[in-house]
């Protein structure tokens, strides 16, 4: 059995937009006056050298941090004014895996489902882990798994979270070549279902219609 991404309604207003945002870290200005628009079905690849502000930009887009000036909008409204609404459609995966080491893969997955307020049946949870090659390892504590296997749990979370907006910080790190392909397939599947993706990565991506932002 496989689970698939449910598609999201196609609408011209499902758009993530940044208007004239400026990001300051300490007393250094990372970027200023940045504009971007991301429509349903589009993937934005943010590139740039280390320390140029890729992660900071992603955090601004999630609402975890606020821009020094300018604003981030979801469907035409500032995300600050509709935080709960926006967060219900958002999945952010930072460079820390945010998995509890003492819990098993399946417990982590179900815990996040409860916290994110989505109904996740046991069957779907197992199926998503199996899809990414974790069969037989569902009940092992996460600290027994390798870095790549932890990433695979996150891929299962991407599948089960049913969020329209994915914001991913270096999602391809620690993955073997086969898993890189699987993750790209997952992203393409998400885009076909009217999802939006913004990601940072240092490696070239084989995703059609990819938009690139060089910081």
């Amino acid at each position: 059995m496989t689970t698939t991404n449910s598609s999201f309604p196609a609408s011209a207003t499902a758009v993530l937009e940044a208007r004239e945002i400026t990001c300051v870290r300490g007393d250094r200005e990372l970027f200023s006056g940045l504009n971007l628009q991301l429509f349903a079905g589009q993937c934005l690849h943010i590139r740039g050298e280390n320390g140029v502000g890729k992660t900071s930009l992603l955090r601004l887009l999630t609402g975890l941090a606020s821009p020094e000036s300018g604003e981030v909008l979801w469907c035409g409204h500032p995300i600050k004014e509709q935080a709960s609404e926006y967060h219900s459609k958002l999945l952010f995966l930072g460079h820390r895996d945010a998995l509890k080491e003492d819990l098993s893969a399946i417990e982590n997955l179900r815990m996040y489902a409860a916290i994110d307020g989505i109904a996740l049946s046991e069957q779907d949870a197992f199926a998503s882990l199996w899809r990414f090659g974790l069969k037989g390892r569902e009940d092992l504590p996460v600290n027994c798994l390798s870095a790549g296997q932890k990433k695979r749990i996150l891929m299962a979370r991407m599948l089960t979270r049913r969020a329209q907006v994915w914001i991913l910080d270096e999602p391809f790190n620690a993955l073997d070549t086969h898993a890189v392909g699987e993750l790209q397939d997952l992203i393409v599947e998400h885009l076909q279902g009217n999802g939006l993706v913004a990601l940072t990565s240092h490696q070239p991506l084989a995703i059609s219609g990819l938009r690139v932002l060089d910081l």
Partner: protein, 221 residues
């Protein structure tokens, strides 16, 4: 509500997987309170007199031991960011963590108190009052402590700073908690003490989860 229960459940599960951290705080409470009767000797009158203060101070310090863990582990592995990004109210999730902390670090003290009290030759009435006072007072300790834990997130040497921040705030709980037991042992009215402890608890419940949630958000940003 589901997310609140999920957080409490998760935190309790994590504690069960790593029992040593909690047991350390409980053993600390038991050992510290046992050292006093051993050090002072068999002067029952003196022990009865110092019992409320000693037990309460030990309770304050052992609660403090578990506080550092309240947000720090989730902060370090990035879970806290995920909680902020949850569509559920972050305040409710923070409140869940406070409740879990109390269940693990506060409630056992209430249950252990009678055993500890016997070492100090407290009578049955005083033991009951001690338990009731701890039952009202320890949630306040967890609540106030969460503010300190949140404010010192990501700060180097945070645990020492947190003790300095939080212990002064614990003073009212200490005064009225220990005062209630003392008043009961000398036959005075204890309703005043309990009213004040109750008032502290209500005040803390009303404000602290919001304050802690804001402090955590600042730390993450």
């Amino acid at each position: 509500m589901n997310a609140f229960i999920a957080i409490v459940h998760r935190d309790l599960l994590l504690v069960m997987r790593r029992k040593s951290e909690v047991l350390t705080a409980l053993f600390f409470f038991v050992i510290v309170t046992s050292l006093f009767p051993l050090g002072i000797g068999a002067d029952a009158a003196l022990l009865r007199k110092i019992a409320p203060g000693v037990i309460w101070v030990a309770a304050l310090l052992s609660t403090l031991l578990g506080l550092q863990r309240m947000f720090a582990a989730d902060y370090a592995d990035g879970t806290l960011e995920q909680l902020v990004l949850s569509p559920n109210a972050f305040t409710a999730l923070v409140f869940g963590k406070i409740v879990a902390h109390w269940l693990v670090c506060g409630l056992p003290l209430v249950l252990l108190a009678p055993v500890i009290g016997i070492q100090f030759d407290l009578d049955a009435q005083s033991l009951k009052v001690l338990m009731a006072a701890l039952l009202l007072g320890t949630p306040v300790l967890s609540l106030l402590g969460s503010v300190g834990a949140a404010l010192t997130l990501g700060v180097r040497g945070g645990s020492v700073l947190m003790s300095l921040l939080i212990l002064p705030l614990y003073i009212p709980v200490l005064i009225f908690g220990a005062g209630a037991v003392y008043a009961s042992s000398v036959g005075l009215d204890i309703t005043g003490h309990f009213s004040l402890l109750g008032a502290l608890l209500i005040l803390a419940l009303a404000f602290v989860p919001w304050v802690s949630a804001s402090a955590v958000k600042i730390a993450i940003e």
